[in-house]
Amino acid sequence: MPDTELERLYDDHAQALFAFLLNFMRDESDTRDLLQEIFVKLARQPELLHGARDERGFLLRLAHNAAIDLMRRRGVRGKYHEQFGAEMVSIFAPAGNPDEEAFRAALTTALAELPEEQRAVVHLKLWEGRTFEQIADALSISPNTAASRYRYGLDKLRERLRPVYDEL
């Protein structure tokens, strides 16, 4: 793959993939490894993108699959790692005022408490603006499943964040 094309792909999609992977994995080092794995894969097999109508959707799917593979490889060790590391990583930028900062901290914790599959759907819906059909494609589930996971995830967040949200 030509260098300029790889750079273009990185500039267009790395931010979205980074945020998604960081929210999904809750670990910066894993996110770094997975992001590199994706771009190395693209450099090695440029033909992967040839048939993709929705480049971002394809890359999100690639990222999700890579993350699932990594978690499976880790097995039990990964679960402990996730439990202890869940509240350490924030996917949000530092806020300008204390109230917003408190909300982001609470949101980070609440997101970490969601099951991965709900967290993935919530992330793609809220911060990627994907439709349920696009989410379903990216995560290899049905649109109905995507919608119900979003609803459950959002309800849990709402419940968990109500005290902080009401203060805003």
């Binding site: 771009f39 190395v40 949000f92 930028a93 109905n144 919608a147 959002l154």
Partner: protein
């Protein structure tokens, strides 16, 4: 396919209007990807893609090895540690096989020409055996005639007399 799209559209319509809470979540700005990652990741990507870029200039063997490497990498990727473990086991088995192999030379190589004494004893036994069996025509016929070396002139005389 149409039904699927219809369902998806209905779901989208149901969730189209986000409430304030969702909008509040959406407003939270996400962390930026660390700037130094770009250089590192793209460098790694370039390192991988360079051989492919010069594909046309490389000899056939180079292309073949590159393709083989790519295919094998793809094949081995899901569980590289498992494959590496298997390779170690194979090497260990090979090593044990070589190490425990009988290093003594084979019997055929070990045998040497019998000593003159042994040859003498064997000759005596053969003669004794022949005496016990008695002369056989077949054996005599099979045995090559021994032509003693004579001067050529005498050989010619014998032929003339015959």
């Amino acid at each position: 396919m149409t039904a699927k799209i219809k369902t998806a559209t209905l779901i989208e319509r149901r969730y189209k209007n986000m409430d304030d809470f969702e909008k509040q979540l959406q407003r939270q700005s996400l962390r930026k990807v660390p700037g130094e990652w770009r250089v590192e990741i793209l460098r790694e990507g370039r390192r991988i893609s360079v051989p492919e870029f010069n594909d046309a200039n490389r000899p056939f063997l180079g292309k073949f090895l590159s393709t083989l490497n790519r295919k094998l990498s793809t094949f081995f990727w899901p569980h590289p540690k498992a494959w590496a473990g298997l390779a170690v086991i194979w090497i260990a088995i090979l090593f044990m096989n070589v190490y425990t192999r009988d290093s003594r030379p084979v019997l055929a190589k070990q045998t040497e020409a019998p000593s003159p004494q042994v040859q003498l004893v064997m000759e005596q036994q053969r003669r004794l055996f022949n005496e016990l069996l008695g002369p056989t025509t077949a054996l005599e016929a099979d045995r090559p005639k021994i032509i003693l070396r004579q001067p050529r002139s005498e050989m010619r005389r014998e032929t003339a007399m015959a």
